[in-house]
Amino acid sequence: MHELSIVMGIVDLATKQALANGANMIEEIELEIGCLSGIEMDSFEFAWKQGIRNSMLEHAVRHLHRPAGKALCVDCDTEFPIQQLFDSCPNCNGHLLSIISGKELKVKSLVLP
């Protein structure tokens, strides 16, 4: 359940930003959680409900982007979509990959009153 740590990280980060901008609540939050980021979304949802209670995010509308996994084959330079870290290059079957998308774990923006 590292998802709870992640949710608490989001609450901390968002709270600091809101305070720095003179707000005491957050209306909307935009998150980016890549498909290869290691976050299990069911656990995340569960942790989210618990984690935002009595925080500035309690009534916030959440916008979630889920960038798909994309890799670049280091051997043959082919760019291709991946679902798993052990997927191989469709062109040369290589496993030496550079992940170019899907690992994101970010708070992108907030809307404050």
Binding site: H2, I6, G9, I10, A18, L85, H95, L96, K106, L112
Partner: protein
């Protein structure tokens, strides 16, 4: 209050804010704040701070990760005993509860600190920072950080280690790398432990290695047994090669 990082019992935050009020726009009376910050940023910054501390003192820090029961603590006991006098060691033990592992390490005569995470499923850089503060680590030494037994959560949390060592044992499935790819992806070396039991279990070493290298082609793999001692020399050679002792 902690003098180094400024955290206290009630306000347990580190402030490493970057560009807090960047990109503010006014829009129908509401304020849109562009944040673009990594959720793990705080952990990652503390990890880099730990890393700098270790590098500055030429301390080789190793983060040992595995599922519970793969033999991490036994591997440490063996290593600390066999290399006593050759290398200087210290250990941080992470477990949800008890100081049992720390007691085992202490019995080898090595400096050890136990971190109990309570309900937590992983160590983070903040816990390691505080553990290290109380340890008076010697320069040119090796610090083993034995993470909580868990192949999932610790993968996401950089502790500031130089190398991440993933341990699996032959009493587990040989498809473990495929089931828990994140950990194998983020590790630099893999130890296959308990190879003395290979005649009795259905574990194919070649298969496990192939799966692990599908995820991480650069992964170094060492097979060993802490019971029979097979392969331990290779592990010790690897360790010694990583400690840059002053000439």
């Amino acid at each position: 209050m902690c003098a180094t990082c400024g955290c206290g019992p009630t306000d347990h935050h580190h402030s490493h804010d970057h560009g807090l009020s960047q990109g503010i726009e006014q829009n129908t009376g509401k304020k849109i704040v562009t944040v673009e910050q990594d959720i793990l940023q705080e952990n990652n910054l503390l990890a880099q701070r730990n890393r700098g501390f270790f590098e500055g003192r030429n301390i080789l820090s190793l983060n040992l990760v595995s599922s519970p029961g793969s033999g991490k603590t036994t591997l440490l006991e063996r290593t600390l005993t066999d290399l006593k006098g050759q290398l200087e060691f210290a250990v941080i033990e992470g477990d949800q509860q008890t100081a049992n592992d720390a007691d085992r390490i202490h019995a080898t005569g090595t400096k050890v600190t136990q971190i109990n995470t309570g309900k937590g499923c992983h160590l983070d850089a903040h816990m390691v920072l505080h553990a290290v503060q109380g340890m008076k680590l010697k320069p040119d030494s090796v610090l083993f950080i034995e993470n909580v037994g868990n192949l999932v959560c610790p993968a996401m949390f950089d502790l500031g280690e130089a190398e991440r060592v993933v341990v699996i044992s032959v009493t587990e499935g040989d498809d473990k790398p495929l089931k828990y790819p994140d950990m194998f992806h983020s590790s630099t070396i893999c130890i296959i432990n308990k190879i003395d039991l290979l005649p009795y279990v259905n574990f194919k070493v070649d298969k496990a290695k192939e799966y692990a290298r599908r995820i991480n082609p650069n992964l170094e793999i060492i097979e060993l047994s802490c019971t029979s001692g097979a392969g331990l020399e290779t592990w010790y050679d690897w360790l010694k090669s990583k400690v840059l002792l002053p000439v």
